[in-house]
């Protein structure tokens, strides 16, 4: 399993690699982060501290990490996948014992200079692991039941640990993202049909079990679902987030109330305004135009990743690039759905925009993989 196996016709070397960096993608990432800086500046009441400045520093660090990752050949990363996966798993176990409890969940390890969320790291590690796995697996075995069960275990092991934290949002994202990678790898569609059918059955079971002895979810999770279905039930209680967030969005109108003019944000009606609900500030202050612009930026980022995936013939690079695209897509799709009242409130940040170190660093490192795939694709 050495990279010499590859039939490399010509790949850039040294600093020439920088010319082959996917510059449009890099600029789009910077644009999305720039939107984040603006919004963090705004929600702090027109101040760089406490959020915007630190976010910029993290973005700079993240960009550096991305470049480093990009300059290292993609096959090196493929060979490192197993290590990354095991390292992530170890951190998830460590967080069980040494993690910091925040917002009712155990999610962080305090590294001194930053708070590390192993679950963020794991999203990419699992994608890498799956990509490497399918890179190794011979085509005729892909849909063999045993070789389908193996990646399922690879996914479910960290998922179980993350659910235990408890972090339902991230675990769902992990499962769906991994499912996407497996689907792209060519696993027979019948498996997916079966899983979806089982999923529907499980949802029905979850609702049926409510209030019985074998209740499947916590009460607070049921309540979140109830309130998602009808936020007006409790406008000042648990439905408050969704109601206030919809008010902020709606009052933004076509072009918004202007930078720093959002009353919902300014007057603290919005919860988590600098993290999970930051999109509401954007939508309130820049309206439909602002919201759709960000959506287009995100869409283009996903598109460039997919283009990278289809333009390389390296199977690992293909699957990792697309896996990153899917993970990134799931991030913003779930966050926006939640803010717009299309999905229950699960703690998923808006990628590159929400204040948060781990997510930013891990995401940019993941885009580094995509860049690396782009630079080192066989030409």
């Amino acid at each position: 399993m050495s990279f010499l196996e590859y039939n490399v016709k010509s790949t850039p070397t040294g600093f020439r690699k920088l010319l082959f960096l996917n510059w449009p993608l890099t600029l789009l990432l910077a644009a999305a982060a720039g939107v984040g800086f603006m919004m963090l500046y705004s929600v702090a009441g027109g101040s760089m501290s406490p959020w915007a400045e630190q976010q910029m520093e993290r973005f700079a660090l993240g960009m550096a990490v991305m470049l480093v990752v990009a300059l290292i050949p993609i096959w090196f990363w493929r060979n490192l996948s197993g290590v990354a996966y095991l390292f992530g798993l170890a951190l998830l176990v460590a967080v069980e014992f040494f993690g910091t409890v925040g917002m009712g969940a155990q999610r962080w390890i305090d590294l001194g200079f930053m708070q590390l969320q192993p679950s963020e790291l794991m999203k990419i590690a699992v994608v890498m692991m799956l990509a490497a796995y399918y890179d190794w697996l011979p085509a005729k075995r892909i849909s063999h039941p045993f070789f389908v069960l193996l990646p399922v275990l690879i996914v479910l092991l960290p998922t179980a640990l993350i659910i235990k934290q408890p972090d339902l949002g991230t675990s769902l994202l992990l499962v769906v993202g991994s499912g996407g990678v497996m689907f792209l790898a060519g696993v027979h569609w019948g498996y997916f049909a079966a899983v979806i059918a089982a999923g529907v059955a499980l949802i029905l079971a979850v609702f049926q079990s409510r209030g019985t002895d074998w209740q499947l979810l916590n009460d607070y999770q049921y309540r979140r679902i109830d309130i998602f279905l009808d936020p007006s039930q409790e406008p000042l209680g648990a439905g408050y987030h969704i109601t206030q967030s919809k008010i902020a969005l709606g009052s933004g109108g076509w072009s918004g109330r202007g930078f720093m003019q959002g009353t919902q944000t300014r007057l603290n009606f919005l919860p988590e305004k600098h993290t999970d609900f930051i999109f509401t500030t954007l939508a309130e202050e820049f309206g439909f135009v602002g919201g759709v612009s960000l959506l287009i930026i995100y869409g283009l980022i996903v598109l460039f990743c997919i283009v990278t995936a289809v333009s390389t013939r390296d199977r690992f690079a293909q699957l990792v690039s697309f896996g990153v695209a899917i993970t990134f897509f799931l991030f913003f799709a779930v966050n926006m759905s939640m803010v717009m009242g299309l999905a229950p409130v699960v703690g998923v940040p808006l990628p590159l925009v929400s204040y948060g170190g781990s997510a930013m660093l891990v995401l940019l490192a993941a885009f580094g993989l995509v860049q690396s795939a782009n630079i080192h694709r066989p030409r």
Binding site: P138, G186, I247, L249, N268, G287, F322, I326
Partner: protein, 646 residues
């Protein structure tokens, strides 16, 4: 692992197909998100914009200024004065302990109070203003204002608080206000939101309470922008409230102060009424209390002191106290008999000192009897037997009917608390309430204002005014509202025979001015201002046969609460009545001794509109009167007025 080209091609084609599918799904979902955004932000924008405004904007009430009270000459009785307090906002203060330490060097704050304050501060949300000191003097406030830089988070605040500059003298006239209590709110079905304003004051007792609706005014409102925690960020709009109605009372503050002082420490009540309009010129109940004590909530010690006092300072005896009218009722009995035609003014009755009524012997106050008595002499000397005899002839129901026409046993409409109806018994009433039939002895008792008969000092004044004018004069306390004169209480003619009324008035004149009259000692010498009156001494107990035998009936020898009530009613001047007066001194002994001098002094004060000259008093009293006037701190006798008259 090396893959064959065929295998690679297969995988790549499958990847391509599935890429299209997944990419399509992603695109579709992004379309859904954009559509949802369009729905919320474009189609529903107006609705959500409105909700955002409602979130942000909060309407708050501004307490209206309470209507003020003035006397008939414009002197202030109840006003709203700025009340200063010092508040602290924890989140602005930084180091709270340090700030409070600095503050305590400028303004005295009780250490125990300080501990409570700190505990409260740390319990409350940081943005909530907490009162550090209330009713702070202007000096203290200025000192705090000057030192503001070293006192972050501390603000002096000004509000309006009710204040009664006349103090105790008007306590019973206007009552008082106090902070809204939970009890007050529980009494109302839909409490006005203004009542929930912190520190809002409402009328608790008396006129302040009865005319609450006029006095309160209308709350203003201010529109403020608040954040999610309810903290005010800025004021957007303000609409000031409407001040309550200013009321001018019929009371003359100077006269009221005099009357209150003249009653002194006695447990007594005095009412002086304008015969033409029914205006209550003074309506005093003694002892009184300082209503300002109640404005901020009275201390338990003060309150206990007031309630445990046997003279009942909290009771407004002028309208709430009811007393057997005693001999002051004799005019009613006589007039009822005259109007019924059962007696003539010249008819005489023999008074041997007692009279057998039914199986009981009724006594005259004069043991030896008065001899032959006609109307004039009987009233002048207050012979009881004459009235027993007359009452037998006219019957109780006609007497009661006359009493009601003269304003007794009727609840007069006055903006005061617990205005008493008094009691004028009839045969039906006794049957209904006591389930006993009326006895002839009851009639005898009623004829001299004893037994069941009860009247308040205010009703006695009304009776006197009606006797003096022949009109249904009714009392009036509010002269004008916001400058608009209120209808007077002059009243229609009572339809009484003027000749009969004249007999009664002349008899009352003799009571005060004939050497043998019971009130001769308290006459007015000034011929222009002669007064006509009637004494009353009402028993609060039955004199037992044993007591009578032992001869221990002297009032001074009895404990205070068993002594007789002293009463006096009068009007003056006799020929053109201007004022009607009623005085009751609880357990004061004889009416001629305890009540008549007070009534005379009050009458003179009112007639002269100031301190009367000593010449108006009987010669032998002048020295004592001069001393008394000095004591009551009145200015020296009005020399100008006196010389005018001379």
């Amino acid at each position: 692992m090396k893959r064959s080209d065929k295998e690679l091609g297969l995988l790549h084609r499958r990847f391509g197909r599935r890429t299209l599918l997944v990419g399509g799904l992603q695109l579709g979902f992004m379309g859904l998100l954009a559509g949802r955004m369009r729905y919320l932000q474009v189609e529903q924008a107006d609705q959500y914009r409105l909700l955002a405004e409602e979130n942000r904007i909060n309407d708050r009430l501004i307490a209206p200024e309470r209507g003020e009270l003035f006397d008939r000459n414009g002197e202030i009785i109840a006003q709203n004065t700025p009340s200063y307090r010092i508040i602290i906002v924890r989140e602005d203060a930084g180091d709270v302990d340090d700030v409070l330490l600095n503050l305590s060097q400028l303004v005295h704050i009780d250490p125990a109070e300080m501990e409570k304050l700190k505990a409260e501060l740390y319990r409350s949300p940081p943005f909530l203003p907490i009162t550090v000191a209330d009713q702070v003097s202007w000096d203290d406030i200025s000192r705090v204002a000057v030192n503001a830089p070293s006192l972050p988070g501390i603000t002096p605040e000004v509000g309006l608080a009710r204040n009664y500059p006349q103090g105790a003298d008007f306590a019973h006239v206007v009552g008082y206000v106090g902070p809204v209590s939970d009890f007050d709110l529980s009494k109302l079905e839909a409490p006005n939101p203004v009542l929930k304003i912190p520190r809002f004051q409402i009328g608790k007792v008396g006129l302040e309470s009865k005319l609450e609706d006029q006095l309160r005014g209308q709350a203003g409102a201010k529109r403020v922008e608040v954040n999610a925690a309810g903290r005010v960020m800025r004021e957007l709009d303000r609409q000031d409230g409407v001040k309550g109605t200013d009321l001018q009372l019929t009371v003359d503050a100077r006269l009221q102060r005099y009357v209150q002082a003249r009653l002194g420490g006695e447990s007594a009540a005095a009412v002086i009424m304008d015969c033409d309009t029914g205006d209550l010129r003074a309506i005093a109940s003694s002892p009184a209390f300082d209503p300002n004590l109640f404005v901020r909530g009275i201390s338990v010690a003060d309150y206990n002191r007031l309630t445990s006092n046997k003279y009942r300072p909290l009771a407004n005896k002028t309208v709430q106290g009811t007393y057997p009218p005693g001999s002051t009722f004799k005019m009613v009995t006589a007039l009822a008999a005259l109007e019924a035609g059962v007696i003539g003014p010249e008819d005489t009755v023999w008074c041997p000192g007692h009279m057998q009524v039914g199986n009981r012997r009724f006594h005259c106050w004069k043991r030896g009897g008065h001899g032959h008595m006609d109307l004039k002499n009987s009233l002048k000397q207050s012979c009881d037997v004459y009235y027993y005899d007359v009452a037998m002839k006219v019957g109780i129901n006609k007497i009661t009917e006359m009493a009601n026409r003269l304003g007794l046993g009727v609840r007069h409409d006055l903006p005061m608390s617990a205005v008493a109806q008094g009691l004028t018994p009839t045969t039906d009433w006794k049957q209904r309430v006591h389930d006993e039939s009326w006895l002839i002895g009851d009639t005898a008792n009623a004829s001299i204002g004893q037994g069941f008969m009860l009247a308040s000092p205010m009703q006695l004044a009304v009776m006197t005014a009606r006797l003096a004018t022949g009109r249904a004069v009714s009392p009036r306390l509010v002269k004008s509202q916001d400058g608009a004169e209120q209808t007077g209480g002059a009243g229609e003619s009572l339809g009484l025979n003027p000749t009969n009324l004249r007999y009664i008035r002349e008899a009352m004149y003799d009571t005060s001015n004939d050497r043998r009259g019971t009130a001769y000692g308290s006459r007015i010498i000034d011929d222009a201002f002669r007064m006509a009156g009637k004494t009353g001494t009402s028993q609060v107990r039955n004199i037992t046969a044993a007591e009578r035998a032992a001869g221990v009936t002297k009032n001074e020898d009895l404990p205070w609460e068993r002594r007789d009530h002293a009463l006096f009613v009068n009007f003056a001047p006799f020929d053109r009545p201007k004022f009607a007066v009623a005085v009751v001194v609880e357990h004061g002994g004889g009416g001629s001794k305890a009540a008549a001098p007070i009534a005379r002094d009050i009458t003179l004060q009112a007639l002269y509109d100031g301190t009367p000259p000593l010449e108006a008093y009987p010669a032998k009293d002048r020295e004592r009167i001069a001393a008394q006037q000095k004591e009551l701190n009145q200015p020296p006798p009005g020399a100008l007025r006196g010389s005018d008259r001379a």
